[in-house]
Structure formats: C-alpha cells, structure tokens
Amino acid sequence: MTGTSLWLRQNGRRVRRPLALTIALGELSGVLLVLQTALLVRIIDAVIFRHAAIASLSVFFLGLLAAVPARFVVMWASRRAGYECASRVKRLVRGEAVGHLRARGPIALAGMKTGEVVTVAVDGVEALEGYYARYLPQRALSTLLPFTVLACVFPLDWISGLTLVLTAVFLPVSMIVIGEESHARNQRLWATLARMSGRFLDILQGLTTIRMFGAARREAAEIERATDEYRTATMSVLRIAFLSSFMLELLSALSIAIVAILSGLRLMAGTMQFAPAYFILLIAPEYFLVLRTLGTFYHTRMEGMSAAERIIALLGAREPAAAATAASAAERRPRLLPPSEGGGSLVVFEEVSFSYGPRTVLEGISFVLPAGSQVALTGPSGIGKSTVLALLLQFIEPGSGRVLVDGLPLQLRDPKEWRKRIAWLPQRPTLFHGTIRDNIRLGRLDASDPEIENAARLACMEEFLCRLAAGLDTIVGEAGQGLSVGQVQRVALARMFLRDPGLILLDEPAAHLDPHSAEQVMSSIGLLARGRTVLMATHRGSAGMERTLVLAGGRVREEP
C-alpha cells in the first residue's frame, strides 16, 4: 500500500464514530426506501388486481406520506454526519500542519515558499472533505446496500434473487479483470489532466520570459497543440477504459431486463404474483448503486489522494502520530533556569560556530557584551550578523561552543522565558492584520490602552498617526492600509517599549529609512537603551554605539 492511502486510512481511523453513524444512517435511508417501495407496490397491486377502493387504501397512502419526512430527515442527518467526519479530519490535519511549521522554527521556514505552504494548509486540507464526507461512507454503502436488497428479494422470489446474485458474481470478476485496469487508466487520466494543468501554469508563470524572446504566438499554438495532443491520446485510452464501465452498465441493465422478462413469463403462467415481481423490479436499481456512483467515486478519491500527497509532502512524509511526537520532542528541551531579573544582561560568546548545511557562517567566534554596554556588530551583508542575533533569540543553537547569558549557558534556559527578556527589532518588521493598536500590543499581550498610547508616543508615531483618520485603530496588514517602511519600523519600536528587556537586539534599524526617520528612530532607541545591553547589527558605521565588533570570514574582531 502506498504511503498516501495509508495516511488517508490512518486519518480515517480517527473519525470512526461519525463515520459509522454516517454509514448507519445511509443504510437506514436504504431500508426506508425499501419500505416506501413496498407501500407503493401494495397500493398499485391493490388497485389493479383487487379493484380496491381508494378509501380502503388510505392507510397505505398515509404510510407513504409518513415515510417521506422520515427519509428526508435520515438523508439529511447522514449528510451532516458525513461532514462531521471531514470536519474533524480537516481540523486535526490542519492543526498538525501548523504545529509542524512552528516546530520547524523561523530559520528553517525561511527557505519555504509561503504561497505553496499556504495553499496546501488551506485548500489542500479542504480538498480532503469529499474523501471523508462522501467517498468513505459511499464505499461502505455500496457493499451494504446490495445485501439489503438481496435480503428483501430472496424470500420473495429466489429466481430473481439468483439473477441478481449471478450478475453480482460477474460484477466483481469483471471489476477485477477490467476494473483494475480501468483504475490504472483513470489514474493516468487524472495524472494527464494534472500535468496539462501544470504545464499551462508553467507557461503563465514564464510569460515574461516568453515575451522577452518574442515567442508568444508560438506558445499559444503550443498550448493548443499540446492540449489537442493530450486529448487525442487520452481519448484513445478512454475509448477502451470506458469499455469496462460499459460492460458493467450493460450487465446491470440486462439483469433488470432479465428479471422483468423472467417474471413476466411466470406471471403469465400464473406461477408468480404481481406484487413481488413489481417490487423486485423497482428496487433492483438500488442493487447496482455501486455502478451509479462509480464515476464520482474516482473523482472524489483522486482529489483526496492528490490533496493527501501534497499535505504529506508538507508534513515531511511522516505519519500523523510521528508528526505529533516530533512536535513534542522540540518542546522537550531542558528548561531548568529562569532568566535573571532586572538591568542589562551580560552576554558571552565562547568559540561559537554555526553552519547552514554545508555553508559555514561562524567559525568559533568569541566576544563579551558587558551588562549595559552598547555594541555595534558590523560587516557586509550576508556575513552572519543576523545569525548571531538568531543564536541569541534561540531560533538556532550553536554547532559548537556556548552562548552564556549572565553566566548561564543559553541551552539551559527555556526559550519562551528567555525571549521575554529580549526586545528585538528585525530588519523588516512584520505588520499583522489588525489595528495598529493590536500590532503594538503584540509587544506585551496584557498591555493596557494608556500603556500602548505611551509606547506609540515614545516611538515617535504621533506624527503619522495624526494623519490617519482612525489613528491607532487604523486597520493595517494584508488587506488594510499600507504603511511605509519607516512607519512599520516605528510600530515595531513601540512594541519594544512595552517590554522590559535585559537585551536589545537591533537588525539594521536605519537601513531602509530616509535620514530624517533614521534620526528619529535612533533617538527613540536611545531612550529605551538606557541601562540595558544593546547589540546592533549594521553594515555601515558604528552608528553611535560605544564599541564596534567587526564580523568577517566567520570570525569577529574588535575595532578600536
């Protein structure tokens, strides 16, 4: 069994109860259908052969009428139960996907294509719905319902029952013989469609390149030719593949015809009653339910499979249970010592090395940041300044060597607790969707409104806030108002003012700012920095810091 179907099955086990309920309700709906058919047959039989007055049949009409809402409710409930299966699986899988992303951490995540990950986590997971809500229950019902029908038919007339069973014998046989093959072909058709679609997207994405080489007309003709070629190739395959379903379809239609003709002959001979014959004829189509749903079967299944494949790729091809343990393993690092309180932190790097895969960035660097010191870390871009900050933020751990804070190795600290003592201004801060106030509050989630307003003032935000009609309550982020780089920088700065850090980390705070904003931002930072340890990564100048460390070739040296 492939990993994909195993994964789908394992997730199916997590929703056993609602799944069983869905199937049970589907079966109940089938039983009600049998009941309704029996009542209808009873009425018609009585009218034709017993010349019954309508008034005498009212109890049957009422029964029929009563069965209508009953079946309606059962069908509806079954549908809802089916959704419950899908909903639970979706929630579990999405929770795991998001947990997995968080467990990988910000540095590993930086290399991932955000768009793809989001598509898988949102649409990919949604695409599992059909598989769990419809395909799985339908698959079970397509075996259950035929037995229900047979159980009704045999006591009434064994010849018709045998006719149906004989076709049923043919069914699996032909299903195995041609079904396997047609399954493979269906899969190929699906793959072909997906490939074509992928090729089309490829062309759209490379549109600029196509135009650059003046190849647009050629490519338009190519799309037409390729799609047409795929069509001819696929159709020649389908002509044969559909033969198998044609055989099954023919078998089912003929078996109904045979049941009808055999019944008719015995009815004329007087060896059979009309009512059972009519009843069998009316419920025989249910026996072939599996055929009716065959087409949609494959579609839903394939959709589920391809969604599962993409999700598995995102989760790193691990089984659901394994993914969960991996996440908790990341949590299980030692968390022994609480951080020291108050004042600036003393930071010591002892022979710290770090490499991203084969690329070595830091080769045994050592330096000391005394408590309350203000130090610039310089060097050209890409040299590893951000790596030093990431080590201090515990996003990554040193390959060798130690980072000590206030005399204690960082590995022994709980990252969550330690980060509370850090205020970090990233190079390009992120605005989250919400109001500016919400964004500042991220600095400390329990901050009060006056505290936030004070932080905004300290971060020199008033100048631009007064130009916004809604002030601090302006919606920003994805769909909201765009803020300039300098304005975003100040929001991030305000976040820092809500914290009480022992260590302030600044990553190129003035790199994207015009001279005026840069000056403002730097003077705000000066306010915050008093009495605290500051490390500022910058590619130019020491920018008013007390000392300057220069990073070059994986080593660090102090600039006089």
């Binding site: 052969f49 079946r71 995540l109 390149t209 239609a253 004329m268 992120t430």
Partner: protein, 569 residues
Amino acid sequence: MKDLLRVARLALPLWRWVLLGVFLSLATTLAHIGLLALSSWFIASMAIAGIAGAVMNYSTPSAGVRALAIARAGGRYAERLVNHDTTFRILAALRVWFFRRIEPLAPAALQLRRGGDLLSRARADIDTLDDFYVRGVIPSLVALLSVGCIFPFLFHFDARLAVVSLAGLVSAGAILPLGISRRAGRPGRERVEWAADLRACIVEQIQGMAELEALGAGEFQAARITEAEREMDRRQRRLNSLDGIAEAQITAVSTLAAGAAALILAQRVGEAGLPGPDLAMLTVVVLASFETVRPLPGVLQRLGEMAAAARRLFEIIDEKPKVAETVAARPVGSPDHGVSAPVDLIIRDLRFRYSPDFPWVLRGLSLEAPAGIRLGVAGPTGAGKSTFVWVLLRFWEYEDGSIRVVFHDAGSPREEELRSLGSEEARALFSVVPQSPYLFHASIRENLLLANPAARDEELWSALDSAALSGMVSSLPAGLDTIVGETGREISGGEAQRLAVARALLRDAPAYVFDEPTEGLDDRTAETMLASIDRRLSGRTLIIISHRPRDHRGVSRTHRLELPGERSP
C-alpha cells in the same frame, strides 16, 4: 450572470460537440426511464393475461426491454466519450483564449497590487469554468429537454398527472433549490472571507514567525488561526447542511409525486377504466423522471462560484497594458521582424517610477552604448538595475528622458526613439538574462529552443559551452533531455542563471543584457566564461549588470547606479 454569458460565448465554436453530448445524455436518460417503464408495463400486462388465462404476445415488449437495456448502456458509453472529448476541447479553447489575452499584460500590469498566486488561481478558475460546461450546462439542458419529453407523454394519459408531475419537477429541480441557494449566499460569502482570513493568518504565521516567537506571541497567533478555521468550518457546515436539504428534498418530492400519481391514476382506473398496466408504468415514469433534475441543485449551488471564477478572469484580462502600442503591430514572424543591423543606444536623463505615488527608481540615468561596446552596470540592491532592463524591454513605460536607438542598416544611420517602435520590435533589439530567470518545467533542450526554435544540437552545445555549463549538462544521464524547472532536477541558482545565459546567447540580437551572469562560479571559470562570451558576441553590444567587480574586468566602461540619498564618489 453577464460574465457567465461571456464565458458561454467562448464555447460557441464548439456548439456541435456540446449538442451531441446533450443529445446522447438525453437519449441515455430516456432509455433508462423507458427501461423501467416498459418493464413495469410488461409484467403488469403479463400478470393480467395470466389471471385471465389469456396468451399475450410477449416477444415484442420483451425485445423492447432488451433493446432499451442495450441503448442505456451504449448511450452511457457514447455520452461519456463525447463529453470527455468536449471537456478537452473547451479546455484548450479557454486556455488559448486566456493566454492570448493575458500575454500583453505581462509583467507590468500583472505585478501591481496582486499576490503571486494570481496565476495559479487563474488556472484553477479556468478548470472551474471547464467544469461548468460539462457539469453545469449539459445536465441543465438535459433536464430541461427530458422534462420537455416526459410532460407531453404524461399529458397524453392524464392532464392532471402531467401537471402534478411538472409541478413536482419544477419545485424539486428549480424552486426549492433556488430558495436554498439564496439562503446559502451569506454563509457562502462569509466562508470565502474566513478562508481569506485563515490564509492571511497562516501567511503571517510563516512570514512573521520569528517575531511572533521572539515576542512570545506564538500561541496568540495559533489561536487566531484556530479561530479563523472554526469560523470557516461553521459556514462550511451550514452550506453542507443546505446541500443535504437540497439533495434530500428531491427524494422527498419524488416520493410525494409518485404517491400523488398513484392516487390520481387509481381514480382513473376505477372510474374511467384506465388499463392497470398503465398505472404501473406511469407511476414508475413519474418516480424515475426525478433522476433528470437531480444534478440541478448542485448546478445552482455552484453557479455563484462559476460566476466568481469568470469575474476574476475577466478582471485580469480587462486590465489595460502598461505600455501602450504606439505603432500598429507589424505582422510578427515575418522576416523583417528580427533586427540584425548593429545599433547604438543613447540614453538621456531617463526617469522612471512604478507609479506616481512611488519614489523614483531611475533618476535621470544617462549612458551611451555604441554598437559593439562592453558596458558594465553596477550598483547596490534596489538601485534600479533590474528596472532598467524592464524599461529597455518596453515592459514598463519610462516617464521622462529618452532612449534613442540608432540603426546602422545598409545606407545612412537611422535614429528612432525606443518608444516609437512597436514593443515587439523593441524587444527584438535585446537578448536578456534577467535577475531571476524563469526556467520552464521542461527539458534543457526545450528551455534553450525557446530562444531560437531552429537551433540544432551543435548550436545548443556551443551556447552551453560559452556559458560554462556544457560540463554540467554532459555529466547528466539524460543530457539535454534532463527536465529542469520547478519540480525537475534541482539546479542551483547559479546554474539556472547560466542556463539562461546559454538561452540568451542562442538568440540573434544587436544587444545582450546579462544580469549577474557568473553567480556561483569561481573567479577562474567566471573569467573563462566571460572571455568566451566576449568572443562569441564580437561586434554586438554587451551590457553586464553585476555587483561583482570581477564581472566588469573586461568592460570598457562601468556605469554605477546609486540608491536614493547616496552620492557617487
């Protein structure tokens, strides 16, 4: 609705196929109903004959039963074939149509204000619309036509019966589903909104993870994701429930209609002497006729989705190109299209910004590139190096200044402003390696042939050789047939860059513009490669954009672009 009609018109050239599919589906459906109806009539007649002790000619009806059974199976087969074929045909038509319309918009009109998933959504939208024909238009037409056949048939036996069935069919197939889909409108819209919210939250989770974790707000964001998901799930649950009602009501109405039919016909049997077999047959016809309207609630439900897909596509293609064609496009592909004569480029005070609200990217750029020169362009990230290439290629319109092109054709030199050339003609002047070149998910050969479809394998190898890539390619087991691109063989950024260099070298143009061509190469190989390119392009203009001083060793002049606020020394 207007958008859907606009889409429907696109399939007009294929009306024969659509019609054939409809006809075959209709025939299959009617054969199915006919099989059950005739079988019922047959056994009832046989039973009456049996009771009366009469002998009945059963060969004709039983032959009919068999014929209908075969017709149903055969019809289904033919119908599936034709409709699949039509799906492909319509898909091809839609794709070509969309490609032709979107092509003039790339890249400028597609870049602003829209996310990178624009194109993948467009692809999904096209698939949705393709589905619209096969699972929307055809079943609707079949339902309409079969009801059109069944109604007169029933009317022939009993007017009341026909009217009652029609009422049942119309309410189960149209009125009730319409009511349901109206109620689904709000949860449907809200679902889309929450899905967008969920998407945004996950984007933030990924892009802002470092900050979230540093601020201790990781759980906070996780809770936001959970909330968006829960809200979306609630809407989806409601929609599913409405779907369930739409599905179950058809069954309910069909049973009611069959009961009503039995009641009406039973009276007729008693009072007007309607033959018993007709009762057995007509009840089955009424019951089975509801199969034809079964797909309709789904179609109605999805109509909004289809319309939205159509609207999104039209929104994209109705965009105005950023660079207006000042000259009527010449027939492309005609021999005079390519430019083989050497050209001088004289750029004066070129100013460009992406929009009036944005800062200037090119602020008065002036440079001269006489035919055959080696020119270097240097500068920090963000100084407008790539923008400069886009402007040269006429993907963006320059706001101020001039780009003069001097053609040295036979005879006296002819000078023209770049803007006054057709944009295709302008692009024919350059062969370009952009900063992040796009490789198609195709073989190396196909990627190279894009630049020159007539190139022979020797030419491909020689171009690869000049780009210092022939060693790498010949070491691959599949050689030129190795698939590269997104999901193909992993190739490094530098290799991709050089593959793009080889591609650009295959194109015949007066001027070549290479952005960071030696990425990922050691100094020695880089030097060999640049020298080989220099030999290959003798007499042609070569502009090398790079932040590596080594790439500018062979150039006769280097022009520096500066960031705003910086002044050149």
